[in-house]
């Protein structure tokens, strides 16, 4: 899981986005939207990404800061503006402390209770998805404010699971 912040020039305006990504998918933050995505396929020049249940086939070529995106038969050109920077590894979550499911899957265990104090990177819960076990880690130290899932529950991608507060 790696995180990045990027800036694009879109219709003359700066758009800041944040992307948290693993090889199977991730979460895309744009404006106030939090958009989970997963990969159907990947290749050298792009792939197919599943967003809100719809697959989007894309190719991207990059020439310095200029990115040309072919998406579903249309081509778009985006200019990268600010410098991107690699962020430290985080959980599946935004900076607001909400832990969401990166992929559809089943909750195997919940290792904390509401009110528990947790350390950064402490395992909060474990889920199974695509035949892989995944630990959901605390993105920062804090206290478990609320738990929104139960063991055995099948959860959708992007579904809120746990909230951590300071």
């Amino acid at each position: 899981m790696t995180g990045r912040e990027l800036h694009w020039r879109v219709d003359g305006q700066d758009v800041a986005v944040r992307i948290e990504e693993s090889s199977a998918g991730g979460i895309f933050h744009i404006g106030k939207e939090i958009i989970p995505f997963s990969f159907i396929s990947k290749h050298r020049h792009g792939g197919t990404v599943l967003v809100k249940g719809n697959p989007h086939q894309f190719y991207v070529v990059q020439d310095r800061d200029s990115h040309t995106v072919w998406l579903n038969g249309q081509t778009y050109r985006l200019e990268r503006t600010g410098k991107g920077r690699a962020l430290p590894a985080t959980g599946h979550n935004g900076a607001d402390g909400s832990i969401t499911a990166l992929m559809p899957g089943r909750i195997l265990r919940i290792d904390v209770a509401e009110g528990d104090a947790v350390a950064e990177k402490q395992t909060l819960a474990t889920m199974e998805s695509m035949k892989m076990e995944t630990s959901l880690l605390a993105p920062r130290p804090g206290r478990v404010a609320s738990i929104h899932c139960t063991p055995g529950q099948v959860v959708d991608m992007g579904q809120l699971l746990i909230v951590i507060e300071d």
């Binding site: 895309f28 894309f58 991207v60 985006l78 991107g84 630990s135």
Partner: protein, 474 residues
């Protein structure tokens, strides 16, 4: 017998000619200049030789002789309509796959061609050497030796004529080494309808129906189709007869094209004759089953045509889109670069004639035509639907191109209705604007996935994005 042919051309047409030669068991000898060192056409040949220029007839004949080629195919453009290559071939005893030098010369002189056509009963536009009656304005000043819009001036009223003729004459002298100009009636919003003709050395001449080439930018065609939505069977028969008369007037040998302009009232006029293979020849092939390059080779060997006029039929409908390395939205400026992704469409009724592949580089040295996408379907409507689908599926990235623009043209109402003329793009200026609406969030996501973490000032591979390990949360 032609056993080894030097293809005096480059790009998609050189590749296309090499394909059929190899299928016919004839060796294909290619030529390439330094900028084409890595070009696909070089690698599509049985052997290829470096030359200084595609425009040097003596060099081409020398390479043909040295490589043992006993014929030269000129393709289109370059020396295909210059007498220099055909006469150099004659002198060297090499078969020129095209018409006689005299035919090229006659048809290259627009005044001579007009005279021949009038004598043969082929309608031509009114023309004057100077000072046409005021009632005939607007008029067009044209270069006698010209072509491709060079040395041409539209004149709205008599007071502008003298200056326009002087300017056109200077341009013509520079461009064609022939300062002569003449004045022709200007046809408003005409269609451009041309007829394919073939003639053998035994006096047989026939036509292979028409092509509608009205969608043009800067006097260059970008979409062609056959049959023309404008022709009734009667008009087709009349124009076909006239095309054959035109070709017979010069005892035409080989494959050629008689270009007409057709006005809204169904009147048509001889425009010029192209004494070579045409870029848009595939639409004729797709609807008739003929292979025009194969026919050219047979005719050049002295064989009689293997069919009669009555054997030729148009079946279904075919459309060609020219895939150019250019940006229609920015006044068709050419673009260059390396083709990073090249995924042409597949399926029934699709033909791709390409001069490029993934990894090919497009330079500024030559014409920006990269490939031609040609479709066939039983009806015009089905062919348009197929072209729309094929253009949408065509992924070509790394060099900016006109694929989406072509998609908007063939998706337009005006195109669907067959309401075509040479001012189609002027009338439909909204086609130059990409569809309105916000950038899809998925496009920003895709770009973000490909973006390298830190801008390093150089171009960057996409692959580094995928180097993260299996999905883990830490």
């Amino acid at each position: 017998m032609i056993r080894k042919v030097l293809i005096a051309n480059r790009g998609e047409i050189a590749v296309r000619i090499a394909h059929i030669l190899r299928e016919m068991g004839i060796s294909a000898i290619g030529v390439f200049t330094d900028p084409d060192r890595e070009a696909l056409h070089r690698r599509s040949m049985d052997e290829a030789h470096r030359i200084e220029s595609y425009l040097d007839a003596e060099e081409l004949v020398r390479v043909a002789r040295e490589s043992g080629a006993n014929a030269i195919h000129p393709g289109y453009g370059f020396l295909s309509e210059s007498t220099s290559l055909s006469s150099a071939c004659e002198n060297a005893g090499i078969t020129f796959i095209g018409p006689q030098t005299e035919t090229i010369r006659l048809m290259g002189d627009k005044l001579e061609a007009r005279r021949l056509m009038q004598a043969a009963g082929v309608p031509v536009l009114p023309a004057w050497a100077s000072n046409p009656p005021e009632s005939e304005y607007p008029v067009l000043v044209k270069a006698v030796g010209g072509g491709g819009g060079k040395g041409m001036r539209l004149v709205q009223n008599p007071s502008e004529l003298a200056e326009a003729m002087a300017a056109a004459s200077r341009e013509a002298a520079k461009g064609f080494n022939d300062a002569r100009v003449f004045i022709e009636k200007y046809a408003r919003n005409p269609r451009h309808v041309e007829f394919q003709v073939v003639g053998d050395s035994h006096g047989n001449v026939m036509h292979v129906f028409e092509r509608e080439c009205s969608i043009q930018r800067r006097h260059q065609k970008i979409i062609e189709e056959t049959p023309s939505p404008a022709l009734t069977p009667e008009l087709r028969a009349t124009m076909g007869t006239m095309a054959v008369a035109a070709a017979k007037a010069v005892a035409y040998r080989g494959a050629g094209t008689v270009e007409f302009i057709l006005d809204a009232d169904g009147r048509f006029y001889f425009l010029e004759m192209n004494t070579r293979l045409q870029v848009e020849h595939p639409v004729t092939e797709f609807t008739t089953g003929l292979d025009l390059v194969r026919e050219q080779v047979r005719i050049a060997e002295g064989q009689p045509l293997s069919f009669r006029q009555a054997d030729l039929h148009q079946t279904g409908h075919s459309i060609e889109c020219r895939i150019y390395a250019e940006v229609p939205e920015e006044n068709f400026r050419p673009d260059t670069g390396t083709i990073e992704v090249f995924r042409p469409p597949t399926g029934p009724g699709i033909r791709l004639d390409s001069g490029v592949e993934e990894g090919s580089t497009v330079t500024i040295d030559y014409d920006p035509l990269m490939a031609k996408l040609i479709v066939w379907a039983p009806t015009r409507g089905a062919a348009i639907d197929r072209m729309k689908r094929s253009l949408r599926d065509f992924v070509l990235l790394g060099v900016r191109n006109n694929i989406e623009f072509l998609g908007r043209v063939v998706s337009s109402k005006d195109f669907a209705s067959g309401n075509l003329d040479t001012h189609f793009l002027d009338r439909n200026s909204e086609l130059f604007r990409p569809p309105a609406g916000p950038l899809p969030i998925e496009a920003i996501l895709a770009a973000s996935l490909s973006a390298s973490p830190v801008t390093n000032g150089g171009s960057s591979s996409f692959s580094n994005v995928w180097t993260s390990g299996p999905w883990r949360n830490s």
